[in-house]
Amino acid sequence: MRALHRFFRRVLNFASGRRGDERLREEIESHLATQTEENIRAGMAPEEAGRNARLKFGTVQAVRQDYHAETGLPFLEDLLLDIRYALRGLWKSPAFTLVATLTLMVGIGANVLVFGVVNAVLLRPLDVSEPQNIYELRLKPWTAWKLLTTSYPAFEDYQRRNTTFSGLAGFDGYSGGRLRWGNAVKIVSGYSATGNYFDLLGVQPTVGRFFREADVHGPNSAPYMVLSDSLWRSAFNADPGVVGTTVRLGKDPFTVVGVAPPQFHGTERFVWPDYWIPVVNHFNAEYLRDRTGHPLTVFGRLKPGVTPRAGRG
């Protein structure tokens, strides 16, 4: 209790920048004067009396140091001084500072990049059934290297006319917003995907179910959300009871239907979604009919026996 009291006083003094210096100076002055007077009354010569008083008092500098250390938080004060000194040093030699900063930036950046690639490509490759049969669809030259290539009506056309793939699915990796559940809010980003997305990839949920083609009946017909394993763990404490609850993404309510397995983190290398919702609940009715935009990435699974070369025809 006493230690706490003392600590608070020190923090307070430190924060308010109060230093006991002035008070100590006055006290010392008064102390020495009284002692000198007393010495004179005892018969010393004035000069001798003052000297004796100072001798008895001891080293003022040492007292002042102890006093100061007791007033505030000497450790923090020293730390601040050190930081200020370091900054002054850096400021004085800008070339060195620049080079050091750049070296650190490049070093850290390179490490992050390499780890990112290794993590995505080697440590956690796309985990779906028979990935060798899955191909992204890029029908026009301009779509090379692009993620968003196809409008929703065009995707439906491909699906209808397709003969080489056993199925075609699409997704848009640019869904996101504030996720609200209970009293909590979290900024998230995820995919909107066509109804057959999970079935086509052959992924199985760890909890609940995935949304399917049968859930989708036109615009706004499937307010269902699948959580990624990491979001489920970080935001919902891996509670299986989350299935069936309602969350809000932005203003729109979604029912959580299931949780994806930990190995499955979407169908892009470097951007891992927090959740999946159906495309029909991401785009409005108008945009679902619009042929001028191209919000979807389309991929399909080749029919057994069809070579990629034949599929290209």
Binding site: R2, H31, A33, G58
Partner: protein, 115 residues
């Protein structure tokens, strides 16, 4: 020549508390003077070391202080014991007596007592 004894860590605070208990509110010089008198010049205390101790006691809430004018009309800071300080003094006193009693027993022991 008889060596003056250095004051032990922590005992100075105890002396300050006891002095304030006996004499009531007192300024730094007064406290230093009393300690000197009572210890009969056996202790070598630089009077200045008293002030950090006083500050520490104040930060712990054991004493409070305010400016006032002294008996010879000089401005001086007066220290007085708070209730927490009184309690602290009691506890420290008991501690001290217990320690002293234990040490005393060790000194009194003779070989035949242990046989």
């Amino acid at each position: 020549m008889k060596q003056k004894k250095d004051v032990q860590q922590g005992t100075l605070a105890l002396m300050v508390l006891k002095t304030l208990e006996v004499l009531g509110p007192l300024h730094g010089y007064g406290i230093a003077r009393r300690i000197e008198q009572i210890s009969g010049d056996l202790l070598s205390v630089n009077q200045g070391t008293l002030y950090p101790v006083l500050l520490r006691l104040e930060q712990e809430g054991a004493v409070a202080s305010e400016w006032d004018s002294s008996e010879n009309n000089r401005r001086a800071r007066f220290y007085r014991l708070t209730r927490a300080g009184r309690k602290l003094l009691g506890a420290e006193k008991r501690d001290w007596e217990k320690t002293a009693a234990i040490i005393a027993r060790f000194f009194d022991v003779k070989a035949k007592d242990l046989a």
